[in-house]
Assembly symmetry: C2
Homo-oligomer: 241 residues x 2
């Protein structure tokens, strides 16, 4: 099996991304919600008809696209009108995924802006729009990478038992497929680990309210959003396979 | 006194930036050193004659400049050929600093690339150039913000005892000025706090070697680089005042 598909290696990437997600959520939580940064037209025509966060995300993706970020199979852009890479194609390790068009970034962004940010941040406006938007870009990119890694998880599981999966896929039995890709023990351990990491990090924060609330918020983000959406990516990928 | 100059408020900003710096250093430390990203010409003419990190930093600053990041008195760009803001000038709180041209970013970048990255990262090349460069931009921006905040520290101290400072400045007594701005107790507590925070964060890392080494590295960064360079900024600012 391709090295990137070994479950041990996938697990290490996912554990590694827990820190990135926790750090970026904590960073965002230290600014107020600043609703205006998510409103189209909130900053006038200078940022097109996009919101400030959309503009910053789009411009950041343009820079990263030129540096060939989205030629990597584990990276998925939020915008689809990005410039081509200016760097020569890297010899990426052989892409272990089957060709697919799965991209759930629109859903990630909608949920992030309308549910996660209100949960994470105090209501109100502190005028730190640019700083908040920089944090939003980091959060969105980290969430996107983590959730789309479900493709590697799905391909790995498929290659371990192709006959089982082929049967479930061909008869369209989504419920059975979902049961087959789910490992309740792994999910429980993940949530415990996230709680512990979020506690370690948040215990050092000066803001006591934030420090107390953050571990629960991080667990909620994983339990109610990252885990189910990762499984959706796994299902979508398997059905396209 | 202007609210931004109250020592209590300055202290909160500086403590808050400790997390940002620790998070961004940990993120960078999880990739290898990847020397090539710091070499001019390492990625050919597509990134001008800059290094990959320079190119990404420059492009990021262009985006942030258009969103008026560098109109804020606590932000300092690494490049001086940035585009003007596309957004209308914010009504920033009155700028409490005296006009000045102090910008030590060239020194920050040189030290970061040649000393901090080799200390933080394992030697070698993991091919994760874009990811490493994204982390480098975050580290450099966090270090720059923290170190240039010395201007607020210096202005605050000056306004508390203008006569003392005017005398030392006018006779150019740098040694006495340095002694006056130094508070050994505050520095000792800062280093203890950074050690504790770095330990909290690094204890959750999967890589045991990194987890063990990181708290010392973080303390070294503060003791040998951030604290002395912040004081240099304070001195430069006071002499220009």
């Amino acid at each position: 099996m391709n090295e990137q598909l070994l479950l041990k290696n996938i697990r290490n990437v996912l554990i590694r991304l827990e820190e990135t997600i926790i750090f970026s959520l904590i960073e965002r939580s230290q600014f107020k919600r600043n609703c205006i940064v998510y409103q189209r037209g909130g900053f006038g025509s200078a940022v097109g008809d996009d919101s400030l966060v959309g503009y910053m995300l789009h411009e950041t993706e343009r820079v990263h696209a030129r540096l060939r970020r989205y030629t990597s199979p584990d990276e998925h852009p939020f915008y689809d009108d990005l410039p081509p890479p200016v760097l020569k194609q890297l010899n990426y390790r052989e892409n272990p995924l089957q060709a697919n068009t799965v991209n759930v970034n629109a859903g990630i962004r909608a949920h992030y802006e309308s549910v996660m940010v209100p949960d994470l941040c105090s209501e109100g406006d502190d005028g730190q729009y640019g700083s908040a938007a920089v944090c939003d870009v980091a959060c969105l990119q980290a969430l996107s990478k983590r959730i789309h890694y479900g493709k590697f998880v799905a391909e790995s599981k498929y290659q371990e038992s192709p006959d089982t999966y082929d049967k479930l896929i061909s008869c369209g039995d989504t419920e059975a497929l979902l049961a087959t890709i789910t490992d309740a023990g792994v999910e429980a351990r993940l949530l415990e680990r996230v709680a512990a990491k979020a506690f370690s990090c948040s215990s050092m924060l000066l803001d006591e309210g934030l420090s107390r609330a953050f571990p629960d918020t991080a667990v909620t983000v994983y339990r109610d959003f990252i885990i189910p959406l990762t499984k959706q990516v796994e299902l979508d990928y398997l059905y396209q396979r």
